[in-house]
Subunit: 445 residues, 2 copies
């Protein structure tokens, strides 16, 4: 294993030139920031020296005194950011976290200038970042081995598809990877521990909670709880889904059994050929449907989470009509096209439906309503309840789906507002543009 790790490390450790370039860029931005009355600080992996080779993110926080009104902080923060990038002749845009900030594209780097409060106790998620940076810096002081292990862990998570707290991945943030590696002591020890993880595991690295049992009540829905050493009330792993946790557990087990570079650098997925996909679809004998959403740019975090919400609602509505879904998933190019893919186990039903009504011994009014409503279907008594074999509203899922797409019940807000929603079924799904989508389809079936 050690040989693999050394080899991987050679690939992911940033070169001197890269660090020199980063330092130079930071200095240039700092120079521009001098004339404003704020304290700039580099945060994130550049500051912690835990950045992977080729990582082009530079995060600079500009710190305002505690007593600054929030509105002023936001306006001044944006204003300063804009002025800096303008004078650097860099393109920029406004992005939003808990408050707005400016992101510039400067010499190929994504440079963020984020306003925040300078406080001991963080007020918001943004304010925590400088604390995180300091905590990790302290832990890594004079411990270069651990720093290397963090790089390995981050790349391992990247390679196995669980790196990133964003809605798309629902996985492990960089800070979480750092905490885990520090907590367990090394890359190998982290993998060893993860291979035995249970869902709902609680890790409290700095022992901030006396009563660990209380923790499970405090974070009831978390697959994994890692208490933030800088804020005992925050679960650093809140974004980690059961799915990502499971994948990490599994990858850890497999890697320990049989290490390989593929875990760090997975071979690129080949786009599957349409003919092969067509054959596989036919062999499955199920019914596939792809619901297409055409849209403008939507913040990816919002997009993924609303697509999931929409998918859940559609599946629930379909199954309410007694059709059965075998699998479903979402896909998006994050630019203009999103897809909800549905695979049906049951997509046709007979023209009658066994409708179950109120029991004979409850409200007479409800009984009379049921009898009157279904009079022409001759209600009968069955096991003490009224029942009627009524005409089914939809005998084909393909006729039901347009109704659901018109109603848009339970859809994410951004998706509900879209003009262009449509769907295609069966082999026509193969005509949807894009190799990425076909790769996704290949994984799905």
């Amino acid at each position: 294993m050690d040989k693999t790790l050394r080899k991987a490390l050679m690939e992911i450790t940033p070169g001197r030139e890269e660090h020199r370039k980063e330092k130079e860029l930071v200095e240039r931005v700092f120079k521009k920031l001098e004339r404003f009355d704020i304290k700039p600080v580099v945060v994130g992996s550049v500051a912690k020296k835990t950045d992977l080779r080729g990582d082009k993110d530079i995060d600079i926080f500009i710190m305002f005194p505690r007593e600054t009104p929030r509105k002023e902080l936001e306006e001044k923060g944006i204003d300063i950011g804009k002025k800096v990038f303008r004078s650097l002749r860099a393109k920029y845009e406004i992005d939003y976290a808990e408050h707005p900030y400016v992101v510039g594209n400067y010499e190929g780097y994504r440079v963020e200038i984020v306003p925040c409060y300078r406080t001991r106790k963080p007020q918001s998620a943004v304010d925590r970042t400088p604390h995180h940076t300091r905590y990790i810096q302290k832990k890594l002081r004079r411990n270069n081995e651990l720093r290397k292990d963090i790089l390995l862990l981050k790349q391992f998570m990247k390679g196995t598809g669980v790196y990133g707290a964003e809605a798309k991945i629902q996985g492990f943030s960089g800070y979480l990877a750092e905490l885990l590696c520090i907590h367990y002591g090394s890359f190998k020890k982290t993998l060893k521990a993860a291979s035995e993880w249970r869902f709902n595991l609680v890790i409290d690295p700095e022992n901030l909670w006396e009563n660990k049992k209380a923790l499970s009540y405090f974070f009831p829905d978390a697959s994994l709880v890692v208490i933030d050493p800088t804020d005992e009330n925050r679960n650093v792993a809140a974004a980690v889904s059961e799915q990502s946790m499971a994948r990490f557990i599994h990858a850890s087990r497999k890697f320990i059994e049989n290490p390989g570079m593929d875990y760090f650098f997975p071979p690129e997925r080949k786009t599957p050929a349409k003919d092969g996909l067509r054959r596989r679809i036919n062999k499955r004998g199920t019914k596939l449907m792809a619901i297409r959403f055409t849209h403008g740019r939507i913040n990816p975090n919002i997009l993924y989470s609303q697509l999931r919400k929409t998918r859940n609602s559609i599946v629930k509505q379909i199954e309410g009509y007694e059709f059965k879904i075998l699998n479903s998933d979402i896909w998006t190019d994050e630019k203009k096209l999103s897809i909800i893919l549905l695979e049906f186990k049951v997509w046709e039903l007979p023209p009658i439906e066994h409708r179950i009504g109120p029991p004979l011994d409850k409200s007479r009014m409800e009984q009379d309503k049921f009898i009157a409503k279904y009079r022409r279907f001759k209600p009968k008594i069955e096991k003490g309840r009224w029942v009627a074999d009524v005409r089914r509203e939809f005998t084909e899922a393909e006729k039901l789906v347009p109704k659901i797409l018109r109603g848009r019940k339970g859809f994410g807000k951004k998706i509900r507002e879209l003009k262009r929603i449509g769907f295609v079924a069966d082999e026509k799904i193969l005509d949807i543009d894009g190799r990425e989508f076909l790769s996704f389809l290949g994984e799905f079936i």
Copy 2:
């Protein structure tokens, strides 16, 4: 309503000639019983004068002293019965309740000679009958109106298909009808009360239980509890199913709204024409299957209850394979042919099946087993669990049913032992012999 009741009463009150004939027959049997050292007693509706016109049942109990060993009681009881019918030149056979007894066919009457113990506190169900008879006799002494109302209630229950505690009907016994009528005070009051009944109702006519709440715990599964005035631990209504209770509730409501002779004497069901049935089957668009059991004579109570048990097991097994049943029912000619009728909502499924395996964080051994077992179907992780799209064992219910009929898992004992079990589907069901079956089919669909 009163006019209807008077009219019905004229139809159901036995004539003088009928009572005279019964009396004469009883006397002849008693004469034959004289030479044995037992005390005969007439029980049942003849003794209580609550028998309906044309009721050809005469129940004679022969009472043995308490200290008689059970074996001796049974042997002597049978022996006496046989001898009596032989000397009357009547055909007879042995039947079984809690112990064996002899039933003779004497001048068109079904005469039972049943041995029992003469005790104050009944030892068994059989021993209770004389107590029941005495209780009702006492209650009806000098109350001819109530006797008439009992006849009406029995005929009403007969006409609406809920009369009889046997497994076929799972309804109201004669004794139960008598108790209800006495408890509520009249036929009309009984119907009025029943129209407001709730399931799990408790009636304790003689107030034998102080704590009525305890009663529900004592009879937790009963749809209706009527405490036997002669034995506080017995629920006279134990046989009443929710279905029979519901039908009686409904019939009571309808009769009160709009009385009519049809409730007492329902028009005979016309056998539906095969062509009409065929059209209706096709219109429903479901899949019908009839499982045929060819058998010799089986005690009807055992037959009905084992058919139900068998039906339940078959339905459960079918749904275990993800097919869906819309309706199912049983039918038998009680002689040589029984049918379990199944109507499918889903009878075809795609060739793949979404098999859900163990979660990632539980026993590694189980996980490895699942992965090994389904290796060729490429297990994936989904929501923290192993899943695999495996090849489905049965894509058509029609291919599954023969396997279930071979396995006979959970079938009633008598049915499990049958040699000839087969099944037919769709229109071929119409070829099953017998108008009775076609009537049943007509009701079913």
